[in-house]
């Protein structure tokens, strides 16, 4: 059963003494944030981004309600077996021998609450590592996989964490599967389970639907001919780039409104369109804010295939892809100093992991990226 929507996280160590949805989701968020802090993600993001872009891995205003203490970047992997022995002795928990592969669940929530209290009051790397170690044996699988995901770059027992993540990829819960698969892909990119999952998706897609590409227009372009069957860009893509381009009269279109509400509505409508057409892993070629509609679709939990973004205004973190639902590559193609994006006050480039940027030697013109002559002249098909 999906988790309830949480309007506000449970602040401080209190969440670790509870087992309702809000507390479980908060625990998962705390653990994943600890992992990011110990990896030094925020520092890396800020160094790599221009000062105006909101490119921190986790925004400060989102850390604040969790009451998380600041953590220094961890120097490397710690001796997990030794650390576990110390921690378990402190709480009189049975210490398993190394030969035991299955993790025994710790039922006593007081233990979690106590370790969390130490972490929130001390704010030390040691207490953060203790919390991750303990949560690997939590009763709830979301907490377990979040701990394993967070701990994967700091523990000396990577195999053990990979086992927990692999188990998580079989979960009935979307969120658990997404976190597990993403963390597994980072910790063990060649893991057989990832290939199996990819194969499962492809087989299902082949059985349930065609390989399909679709064009999604941007703001105020709902009546523009270029993206519709018979339009110049549609005809070019169909003939020369993607013979699987959707060309039926019931193609997807949206209001093209210039507001968050219009884009959110479009994402919901696209989800409905995909379900009605039994499409799975639809490839999208989007223009302008059509790309941000596609991002919302992934945030709504719908799997997409390839995502080709033409002149997409960057509004991270409001609009960003959920990479767990973008099954293939995400490629951005744009021009230099796009004036429409300037008016929109969007960012001109993605500085987001998993998005490949291509800037054409063209200036200012927001609409150049969907012109067939531009695609031919600059060999855009080779970029996708």
């Amino acid at each position: 059963m999906p988790f309830q929507i949480v309007p506000e996280p449970v602040a401080g160590p209190l969440s670790f003494s509870r087992s309702d949805d809000a507390a479980i989701l908060t625990q998962a968020a705390v653990l994943l944030a600890i992992g990011a802090q110990l990896r030094g993600d925020n520092k890396r993001f800020r160094l790599a981004s221009v000062p105006s872009a909101a490119s921190a891995a986790i925004l400060d205003e989102e850390l604040k309600p969790l009451g998380l203490p600041a953590l220094p970047e961890s120097p490397g992997r710690i001796d997990s077996a030794h650390n576990r022995q110390m921690l378990f002795s402190r709480y009189n928990l049975p210490i398993p021998s190394q030969a035991v592969l299955t993790e025994t669940v710790i039922e006593d929530l007081n233990v979690f609450a106590d370790v969390a209290k130490t972490y929130f009051s001390e704010g030390s790397s040691k207490s953060a590592i203790d919390l991750m170690e303990l949560c690997l044996r939590h009763r709830n699988e979301l907490v377990r996989v979040s701990a394993a995901a967070a701990y994967s770059e700091h523990s000396s027992e990577l195999d053990r964490l990979i086992r927990i993540l692999e188990a998580g990829t079989h979960s009935a819960e979307d969120l658990v599967r997404s976190i597990s698969a993403t963390a597994l892909a980072l910790a063990a990119p060649d893991h057989a389970r990832l290939k199996e999952m990819e194969g499962t998706t492809r087989r299902t897609g082949a059985a349930g639907a065609r390989d399909t590409t679709m064009l999604i227009h941007g703001t105020w372009a709902q009546n523009s001919p270029w993206w519709q069957p018979g339009g110049d860009f549609h005809s070019y893509i169909l003939r020369s780039v993607r013979p699987d381009l959707y060309s039926q009269p019931d193609r997807f279109g949206w209001s093209g409104g210039y507001s968050d509400a219009a884009r959110a509505l479009a994402a919901t409508d696209l989800g409905t369109w995909v379900q009605n057409h039994n499409e799975q892993g639809l490839d999208l070629i989007t223009h302008s804010h059509g790309g941000n509609v596609a991002f919302l679709v992934t945030q709504n939990g719908l799997d997409l295939g390839e995502l080709i973004l033409l002149s997409c205004p960057v509004h991270v973190p409001k609009y960003q892809p959920d990479m767990a639902h973008a099954r293939k590559q995400v490629v951005s193609i744009r021009v230099h100093f796009d004036l429409v994006i300037l008016a929109d006050r969007g960012g001109q480039r993605f500085n987001f992991p998993g998005v490949t940027e291509n800037v054409l030697p063209i200036w200012f013109d927001h609409f150049a990226t969907h012109r067939p002559d531009v695609w031919r002249h600059h060999n855009v098909p080779a970029m996708i």
């Binding site: 009546n223 523009s224 210039y258 219009a262 300037l342 008016a343």
Partner: protein
């Protein structure tokens, strides 16, 4: 050429914001009929960014049936539910593109509530 006109639009928007004079807003409204898509989009974005100030100008344009269906969409983008009664009659317009834009605009307004 259009790049210079675009810069002119940015300047008109800034002047509108600073002086509140409708004359500058009208420059943007007129640009909604530009053939160049960049100019049309820049004008549209700057109009939405002007917020409430843009509403009377768009209502006038709606009465004159100027730049439909974009004017309908822009009115909805401002997010003011009060314009619903002005948009609604267009949802049965004889021009199917105008009727569809009005229906979409009403949906966007409804989802904003």
């Amino acid at each position: 050429m259009w790049v210079l006109q675009a810069i002119g639009l940015f300047l008109a928007a800034a002047a509108w914001r600073l002086t509140g004079s409708k004359r500058f807003g009208e420059v943007l409204i007129r640009s909604l009929s530009a053939e160049n898509e960049n100019l049309k989009n820049i004008a549209g974005i700057l109009i939405v960014r002007a917020g409430k100030n843009a509403e009377p100008l768009l209502q006038d344009a709606l009465r004159r049936r100027e730049n439909l269906p974009m004017t309908l969409s822009l009115l909805a983008d401002l997010g003011d539910g009060m314009v619903e009664k002005e948009i609604r009659p267009f949802s049965t317009d004889q021009d199917p593109k105008v009727a569809e834009a009005a229906r979409q605009a009403l949906r966007v307004l409804a989802s904003n509530r």
